[in-house]
């Protein structure tokens, strides 16, 4: 029986080693614009296109 399925996720601890390039979209979280939580964003350096 498979009790636990782990989804493929970014490892945040690993991202501390080589992240922080700052090229990602600015994440305005204000609801009076279209609030963009950081979770909504893509990593610019991980984008394939």
């Amino acid at each position: 029986m498979k009790h636990i399925q782990t989804l493929n996720t970014k490892n945040l601890c690993e991202s501390a080693k080589n992240g922080g390039c700052g090229e990602c979209q600015t994440s305005c979280q204000s609801a009076c614009k279209t609030s963009c939580g950081i979770a909504n964003q893509q990593c610019e350096s991980a984008k394939k296109d």
């Binding site: 782990t6 996720t9 501390a16 700052g22």
Partner: protein, 461 residues
């Protein structure tokens, strides 16, 4: 820290500091809840007492489950420790010190007269005004000069209604296209509009030059026309919907957002989303109104359970449409679990006042559009740069660990502490938290992750 929740028929366990997401059965759901406080023997006893009458459950298997949890912990994907707190300031520093995005207030005036407007009908509690080409160009140069090694620069044409100053918008984009080649930069433009002035020229421009277009539509005609009226009090729904449809059809797959506001008048906002879908729009966003608590349109305590339920029903509808091969996007449920932002970004948040600033029609700089008009937050201007270092320091210090209320929140690395402006307006401090906004955010994240998990598992079947 972990967060366990049950939604959409799934048992989900989030491991906060590693970012891992586990979908588990009910036995593992209980086991993970008990793991940190219970010995191996006691945990197996407890689970066997509860589940032992099931044919597929044996003590041996429960021991194996316990050990599997231990392996996940050892590999850093469950109960990962917080290794970020001590270096939060340093992590934020790495992404600050440069400006990479501006919200250009092209027009402090509007052709609509929406009573719920946070910007006081586009005037931001001040004089009406249009940004001159000179100020706009200087703002773009200010951005380039202060952007360091950042290549991607963002500019949002905002208002008021930016199309009331469309000639300047077009000239600024033309100027930026020249400057970006000279400076090795890449401008990304966003246009936020109420739609009234959209015509073929605007459609051609927006679809050629803007990486995103935010179109304001509140959903049902009677809901939209309740607030979004012209200065004669006439609703704008019938005027703008055909224009939006034409723009989106011509957009050819480029990003846009149909952005609505829900208020005390429509906490049942799923109906508005369904109207947007019926009108042919597939990239949608509905936002809770931003206004003073005593405003008649403000959401109240009685609205919140309705809103929470709407978020769940929305997730169910999205999953159904996804399975039917007719998916749509809800902005808040976009989450990229494998390719999302790194820890630097998750700690630093929006970058208001540091990486991101708003520019008024007269060239004054503010930490973001929500602070425009609040004189003590004025940072400087695009001609002389930032001179209010005291205020800028407050924003530099904003990171998720600067907010004591976030310490025990499982969602902190999904929101990075939330909106400084909302926090200020709710508590008087940019490092406070807007508690109602937090509640809504946590619900949206639970729905977003459940949706992503359900899609992933569905694809694996």
């Amino acid at each position: 820290m972990i967060h366990r929740y049950q939604l959409g028929g799934l048992n989900i366990v989030l491991d906060i500091y590693s970012g891992s997401v586990h979908v588990v059965d009910e036995i593992a759901y209980d086991a993970i809840g008990l793991y940190e406080e219970t010995s191996r023997e006691a945990l197996v006893d407890t689970l066997f007492a509860k589940y032992g009458d099931r044919e597929d459950v044996t003590r041996e298997e429960l021991f194996e489950l316990y050990d599997q949890i231990g392996e996940l912990k050892a590999s850093g994907r469950l109960f990962a420790p917080d290794t970020f707190r001590e270096k939060a300031g340093d992590l934020k520093k790495k992404t600050s010190g440069v400006v990479k995005a501006l919200c250009l207030h092209i027009a402090h005036t509007c052709n609509l007269n929406c009573s719920y407007c946070f910007a006081s009908q586009g005037k931001y509690h001040g004089e009406r005004g249009l940004m001159s080409l000179e100020v706009g160009k200087r703002a773009l140069d200010f951005l380039i000069e202060n952007s360091g090694t950042r290549r991607n620069l963002e500019v949002d044409f905002f208002g008021g209604e930016p199309l009331m100053n469309f000639d300047v918008v077009k000239e600024l984009v033309a100027y930026a296209r020249v400057r970006e080649k000279e400076c090795g930069k890449n401008f990304r433009f966003t246009l936020t509009t109420n739609g009234v002035l959209i015509d073929d020229d605007v459609i051609d421009f927006a679809n050629r030059e803007c990486s995103n277009v935010v179109l304001s539509l509140d959903g049902r005609k009677e809901i939209h026309d309740r607030f979004r009226v012209d200065h004669a009090g006439r609703g704008s729904f019938d005027v703008i919907v055909p224009k939006f449809q034409k723009l989106v059809e011509a957009r050819g797959g480029k990003n846009y957002y149909m952005r609505g506001t829900f208020t005390h008048a429509n906490p049942d906002f799923l109906k508005d989303i369904e109207v947007m879908l019926d009108l042919g729009f597939r990239e949608l966003s509905m936002e809770p109104v931003v206004c003073a608590p005593d405003d008649p349109s403000a959401l109240n305590e009685e609205d919140l359970p309705i809103v929470m339920e709407q978020y769940e029903k929305l997730a169910e509808l999205m999953l159904k449409c996804h399975k039917e091969g007719n998916p749509f996007t809800f902005y808040h449920y976009m989450i990229d679990l494998s390719g999302g932002p790194c820890i630097y970004k998750r700690i630093s948040g929006c970058g208001s006042g540091t990486e991101y600033m708003a520019v008024t029609p007269w060239g004054d700089l503010y930490p973001c559009h929500q602070f425009v008009g609040e004189e003590k937050f004025k940072l400087g201007n695009v001609f002389d740069g930032v001179d209010n270092h005291e205020i800028q320091c407050e924003f530099e210090a904003c990171n998720v660990y600067a907010r004591p209320e976030c310490a025990d929140c499982w969602a902190k690395l999904y929101c990075s502490g939330g909106c400084a402006a909302n926090a200020y307006h709710a508590t008087g401090s940019v490092t406070g938290v807007y508690a109602t906004g937090c509640e809504l955010f946590r619900k949206r994240m639970e729905c977003a992750i459940m949706l992503e998990a359900a899609k992933t598992l569905g694809n694996d079947e």
